[in-house]
C-alpha cells in the first residue's frame, strides 16, 4: 500500500533550521512543509513590499533555501511553503537564484497567486468586519492589505505540473499538508469525508512543528521532555485509509506521546466539531490517539462535514501607536514605591494632557499576567523586586513618545531607587476579517525552472 511521509520544517516565521535539515536527511520524506505565516505577517510583508518591490516574503527564505535545496534535490523531497507571504513571485525568484548559485539544477519552482485581493476591495466595502461589527468601508484609508485564506487548489495544481518547490502567499495553514495528500490520494470532501478530516488533522498537527514533538510542553516535575535544545520536528506517515502515525527522526530531542498530540489537537481551535478550513469543515471531536511505539503515535477518527462556501479574508490596517516604558524597584517597600510611581504617572498624564485611548500599568513579577483578583488569590507575599510596566495606546507617534518619556523621567523625578528604564514606541498594524464567496477567488500558478 502506498505510504506518504510529510515532515514539518518550520512552525513560525523565524523557526530553527537544523530540525528541517535533519528531517530531510533522515526522515525518508516525500514532502516537507514550512509554515511561516502568523495572522499579521502578510500585512507586515505588504508594507515591506511597498518600500521595496523585491521584498515582502519571509526574511529567512534565502537562508533556509541555501541549507535545504541541495538536500531536497538529493533525497527527492518536494517542498511546500507559505514563505511567499506578500510576494510569492519574488520568493520564487530568490529561490531560483539561490539554486543557481548552489549549482542545484533540474528544479521546477511554482508560485501560487490569487490570495491578494487588495486591488478589488471596492466591491467588498459593504461586507461586515467580523471583529468590529462595522462595514469594511468604515476602516477607510488605513487599509494596507487583504489576503484570502485559500484552499489547497493552487498547491495541488503545482504538484500535478511536477513542481519540486511550491511557494504560496496566504493559504490556510493545513492546506500545506492537505495539498500533497489530495494530490497523492485523490480525496474530496463529498466522497472521502473521513480522509479529508484526517488530512486537515495531519496539517493541524504539523503546522506548529515542534509544538507536537515536545516543544511548548515541558513543565519540570510534571511533564518532562528530553533534549529540547535539539528538538526534533514532526513527520507523519499516511496511507489511503487516512489513518496516520506521527513521529520524529531517531536521535532527535523531544517526545511524541499521546499527551503532546492532545495538546496540539486543541491548540487554537474553538468548536472541535467544526474546525473551519477552506478545504473542509473538520470534526476532531472523535479523534483517538494511540501510542504504538516509542515516539510514535497513531491518529484516527477525524472526519469532515463538507466545505465552507465563503472564505476568510484577513484585512490588514494601520491601527494606532503604543508607547511603553518600564522601570524596576527593589528591596523592602518596593511595592509602595512602585505604586507611588504609578500614581505619579497617572497624574502626569492628566497634567500634561497626554491623550490616550487606553492606558495600562502592571507590575512585572506580580500582576502583569493575571491582574489583581487572581494575583491576590494565588500570591500572598510581596516580591523582593518589581518592574513597573506602563503602556498606552495613542493616535500618533509623538504622543506615544511623550508617554514613554514620562517613565524615563521617573529616574530623577520619581520615587527612590528606580532603575533599568527601557522605553519603546511601536506602530500597530492590526488585522480583521471579512468573508467572501469562494468562487470569487481565482488561484493562479506560475513556474520558474532551473534547467539541467
Amino acid at each position: 500500500m502506498k505510504k506518504i511521509r510529510i515532515g514539518s520544517g518550520a512552525g513560525y516565521a523565524g523557526d530553527r533550521i537544523e530540525p528541517a535539515v535533519e528531517l530531510i536527511e533522515k526522515g525518508n520524506l516525500d514532502y516537507i512543509i514550512f509554515e511561516c505565516l502568523a495572522e499579521r505577517t502578510v500585512a507586515a510583508g505588504q508594507q515591506d513590499k511597498e518600500s521595496d518591490a523585491a521584498k515582502g516574503y519571509n526574511q529567512l527564505l534565502e537562508y533556509r533555501m541555501e541549507r535545504i535545496l541541495p538536500l531536497v534535490k538529493k533525497n527527492h523531497v518536494r517542498v511546500i511553503t507559505n514563505m511567499g507571504a506578500a510576494n510569492p513571485k519574488a520568493a520564487a525568484e530568490v529561490t531560483l537564484e539561490t539554486a543557481g548559485r548552489l549549482g542545484v539544477s533540474g528544479l521546477k519552482i511554482a508560485y501560487v497567486l490569487g490570495d491578494d485581493i487588495s486591488d478589488c476591495l471596492e466591491k467588498y466595502q459593504d461586507c461586515t468586519v467580523l471583529e468590529k461589527g462595522v462595514r469594511l468601508s468604515e476602516l477607510g484609508e488605513s487599509l494596507i492589505s487583504a489576503n484570502v485564506y485559500m484552499d489547497a487548489g493552487g498547491i495541488i495544481e503545482a504538484l500535478e505540473e511536477g513542481a519540486d518547490i511550491v511557494i504560496t502567499g496566504r493559504v490556510s495553514d493545513p492546506a500545506l499538508t492537505v495539498g500533497p495528500l489530495v494530490f497523492e490520494f485523490g480525496w474530496n470532501v463529498e466522497e472521502h469525508p473521513e480522509q479529508m478530516g484526517q488530512a486537515v488533522l495531519a496539517g493541524h498537527l504539523l503546522e506548529c512543528a515542534g509544538q507536537v514533538t515536545g516543544g511548548y510542553y515541558a513543565d519540570p516535575g510534571y511533564k518532562e521532555v528530553p533534549d529540547l535544545e535539539r528538538l526534533g520536528f514532526p513527520l507523519i506517515e499516511i496511507d489511503e485509509s487516512g489513518v496516520f502515525t506521527i513521529s520524529k527522526v531517531e536521535g532527535s530531542g523531544g517526545i511524541v506521546c499521546v499527551d503532546t498530540c492532545k495538546e496540539q489537537l486543541i491548540y487554537e481551535i474553538h468548536n472541535p466539531k467544526a474546525y473551519m478550513t477552506p478545504d473542509a469543515v473538520a470534526d476532531f471531536s472523535g479523534v483517538i490517539f494511540t501510542q504504538v511505539g516509542e515516539n510514535l503515535v497513531r491518529a484516527e477518527h477525524a472526519t469532515s462535514h463538507g466545505r465552507p462556501e465563503t472564505w476568510k479574508v484577513s484585512v490588514g490596517y494601520k491601527d494606532c501607536y503604543i508607547g511603553e516604558g518600564e522601570i524596576s524597584y527593589g528591596g523592602s517597600n518596593c511595592m509602595a514605591r512602585a505604586e507611588l510611581a504609578a500614581d505619579i504617572l497617572k497624574k502626569r498624564i492628566k497634567l500634561t494632557d497626554i491623550c490616550l485611548e487606553e492606558c495600562r500599568i502592571d507590575y512585572i513579577g506580580y500582576n502583569s499576567l493575571y491582574k489583581d483578583t487572581l494575583t491576590r488569590k494565588l500570591q500572598a507575599s510581596e516580591p523582593l523586586e518589581l518592574r513597573l510596566h506602563m503602556a498606552g495606546r495613542t493616535k500618533d507617534r509623538q504622543t506615544a513618545e511623550r508617554l514613554a518619556c514620562e517613565v524615563e523621567a521617573l529616574y530623577t523625578n520619581g520615587p527612590a531607587g528606580g532603575g533599568g528604564v527601557v522605553k519603546r514606541v511601536s506602530e500597530v498594524l492590526s488585522v480583521c476579517s471579512i468573508f467572501i464567496p469562494r468562487d470569487e477567488v481565482t488561484q493562479k500558478v506560475k513556474y520558474l525552472e532551473v534547467l539541467l
Partner: protein, 108 residues
C-alpha cells in the same frame, strides 16, 4: 487539590479569543472533570481578564475539555497593552484552581 495535580493545559489565541485546553493525565479523571470544571467556574476565575462569554467544548475522543474565552485578550493580539498579548500564560493560572478532592476510585 489543585487542577494542576491531575491535568495539563495549553493556551491558544485567535483575534480576541483565547482557548485553553484542559487534559487530564489519567483518562479516568475525564468524567469527574467534566462534571466539576464548568464554564461558569472558568469565567469567574478569569473575571478580571475575560470580558465575554466562556464556552466549554467536550472532546470525548481524546477525553479533554476546551474552554473558549471571548474578549479575553485586551482588545486583540495586535493592539493589546498586555505584556502577554497572546494570553499564552492563561492556562497555567487555570491549573492553579483549587478543586474539591473527591475523585474516587470509581470515577470512571
Amino acid at each position: 487539590m489543585k487542577l494542576k495535580e491531575i491535568a495539563h493545559a495549553r493556551t491558544g489565541d485567535k483575534g480576541e479569543i483565547s482557548n485553553i485546553s484542559v487534559i487530564p493525565y489519567d483518562e479516568k479523571d475525564y468524567k469527574w472533570l467534566r462534571e466539576t470544571l464548568t464554564a461558569e467556574k472558568v469565567r469567574e476565575w478569569f473575571q478580571d481578564i475575560c470580558h465575554g462569554e466562556v464556552v466549554r467544548y467536550e472532546l470525548d475522543g481524546v477525553r479533554a475539555l476546551n474552554f473558549v474565552l471571548d474578549k479575553a485578550l485586551g482588545g486583540g493580539v495586535t493592539r493589546s497593552l498586555a505584556l502577554d498579548k497572546h494570553g499564552k500564560t492563561l492556562g497555567m493560572a487555570l491549573l492553579d484552581m483549587e478543586l474539591e478532592n473527591n475523585i474516587s476510585g470509581e470515577s470512571v
